[in-house]
């Protein structure tokens, strides 16, 4: 009886939280079926402007190209930053030494520096490299993610060292140990890191805004903010709603895809 009551409250809690989470999305989808002035007026029912809004979006904005630009940057950043961060975290955690601990502390401290301080020197550097208006100018500074190193470092803290030691005794070289002994154990960590990294790169705004200048290099957040920045003339909220939906889909898909690895992790397959 009590377990029934508690499971009722559990579901009630989940349903309420989910509803709050999802509500703005429902509203967004409803918005994409209404005209701009109806959206401003707060219309809360489905309209007949859906096809129109999509048509306008594809006709009036470079959404396909901007989507591709965003995707290119996000995938590169995700792959490269995960490789670099996992290696580094492993190095810091497993091969501890005084020098490495020092460097790790400096890394962590650098997380606290607001980006606004770095922006102007970084911009100057990118012009020296000749990378202004090039996707690499966005990708390169994002590869070093102290946050991800920290994250991997934390999850390696509970990693059973014996496994590594016994692999060493078996004569495996260090990179191979990392690749075939450690990596498979960190599945859920990788999944979370991938989601985190992709999301950060996908939604990155301030830095791409500064370094990407021509229209053919722009990313989706730049497109959206550019369209909603207009204060004087009418903003087409129909288009904005469609663009927000489009920019939401990839992360949604990634999460669905990596979600499986969480579930797999939970079946206990990764417990040694």
């Amino acid at each position: 009886m009590t377990s029934k009551v508690s499971s009722f409250f559990k579901y009630l809690f989940i349903i309420i939280c989910s509803f709050i989470s999802v509500f703005p999305f429902i509203w967004m989808i409803i918005g994409s079926t209404n005209s701009s002035s109806q959206i401003i007026a707060g219309k809360m029912s489905f309209g007949d402007q859906f096809m129109n809004n999509w048509h306008h979006t594809f006709a009036q904005t470079a959404v396909v190209q901007d989507f591709w630009n965003s995707l290119k940057i996000a995938v590169l950043v995700t792959v490269l930053s995960i490789i670099v961060s996992a290696l580094a975290a492993y190095g810091f955690q497993i091969y501890r030494s005084r020098g490495k601990n020092w460097i790790y502390s400096i890394f962590i401290a650098s997380m606290m520096i607001p980006f606004s301080v770095l922006m102007i020197p970084l911009y100057r550097m990118m012009t020296n490299f000749g990378l202004v208006n090039n996707a690499w100018a966005v990708v390169l500074p994002s590869i070093l993610s102290v946050f991800l190193i920290f994250f991997f470092h934390q999850s390696l803290e509970t990693f059973p060292i014996d496994t590594i030691e016994s692999a060493r005794i078996d004569g495996a070289n260090e990179l191979k140990i990392f690749w075939s002994v450690v990596l498979p154990q960190l599945r859920s960590t990788f999944a979370a890191a991938a989601i985190y990294s992709f999301m950060g790169a996908w939604n990155n705004y301030m830095w791409p805004l500064i370094v990407l200048q021509s229209d053919d290099q722009k990313t989706l957040p730049l497109l959206i903010s550019g369209l909603s920045a207009t204060t004087n003339f009418s903003i087409d909220y129909g288009i904005i709603m469609v663009l927000i939906i489009i920019s939401t889909i990839p992360i949604f898909v990634i999460f669905l895809f990596l979600q499986k690895y969480f579930v797999q992790g939970m079946t206990g397959a990764n417990k040694g």
Binding site: I40, A41, K72, V79, W136, L209, I210, T230, N232, I235
Partner: protein
Amino acid sequence: MKKFTKALLGVGVVLASTTLLTACGNSSSSSSKSGTTTVTIWADDPNFTVPNMKTAVKMYNAEHKNSGVKFKVQTQGDYVTKLQTVLSAGKQSSFPNIVTIEDYNAQKMLSSYTKYFNTNSDINLNNFSGYKKNIVTYQGKTYGVPFDSGVSALYYRKDIFAKYGVKAKDLNNITWDQFIKLAEKVKKGSGKEILGTGTLLGQDPDMIRQILQSTGNWYFTKSGKLNVNSTAFKETIKTIKKLNDAGVIKGYSDFNSRNKAVFNGNDLAIVEGAWYLPTIKSDKNMKGKWGVATVPRVAGVKGAVNSTNEGGSSLYALNTGNAKADKAAKEFLKTMYDGNSKFYAKVLKDQAAITTYKPAKKNKEWKQTDPFVGQKVNQYFATNMNKIPAVSYGIHSVELETVFQSNLGNYYSGKTSLNSTINKIQSAYKTQVNSN
């Protein structure tokens, strides 16, 4: 796990190589055309300045077929942030050649980055409305070409005002006190809001700017000294307080909320620059319901007029270190923006761009009756533009307006007196712009 990692890596490698290829492709294409000069134009508003610049480029190219100059118009979001970062980095080769700058920001940019701006002495400022001269010149030199005007008007719902006995002629050339009386009448009868501002009352600089400029004064004296302890400034905020006490002004939380109130008929009047008219006109159902009148004037200040300004921008050529491109940029600005009335007629039609270029006003487009309003609106803008008192916006307007935000709200609501408000503004401003 392995599959997943391999898949991810695979995608990464493919993408990395394509990006590398496209990146290389880009750089080679721009360097191979070394014979042509590229002029890059940055514009802030995808619905206004961008199509405007594109029209200018198109017309210019049609007349200069073999100029060897290629123009690129680029939209930039968060325009001021971006422009300032690029200028602060100081890499001239990465500068755009032509930029638009909002008039309130112009002196700040010109004084902060003087050496990065090119003077443009070919521009004849006598061709433009007089009030623009202070904006585009710095230390006696001409840097910019005046572009659009924010000449203000009182937009009002003439159908509803008429219902409560207020006619067009009652509203033109009146004082704010007279306006308040009329507005109270309409408010009482209709129960609607009268004057809407695009931000909350204590935060809204638009009304202050417009009323203050109509008196021929600004926040600062010509030499840059704070001037809020002047009759003009005091009368300005007193006027807004009077409007507030009478309940005929309403601050909305943002532009959209105000637009919403305008569209659904809850707000009956707006005092704003010429650029606001297209927003009103975007609701086709309101055809014939809106009227345009002059902005009321302040009775207590000598020389105050019924003409003023809110917004507007000008165009500037930057010093990019590439002599050919810099010269082409200047020529383009001179040819199109100081000499081509046909261009101005087209952008008036397409983007409702209200230029400050006087010769353009001879064209018939400026004398036609606007079918939506039923008045010769463009002519109204053209005549009033030349009556706007010239002031110097100075370089610290934004700082001061931030100071207003934490002080004026209390004054309007009656929590602080006029004198203590002024004192607080003065001392807060001092810390804000403290130059060490």
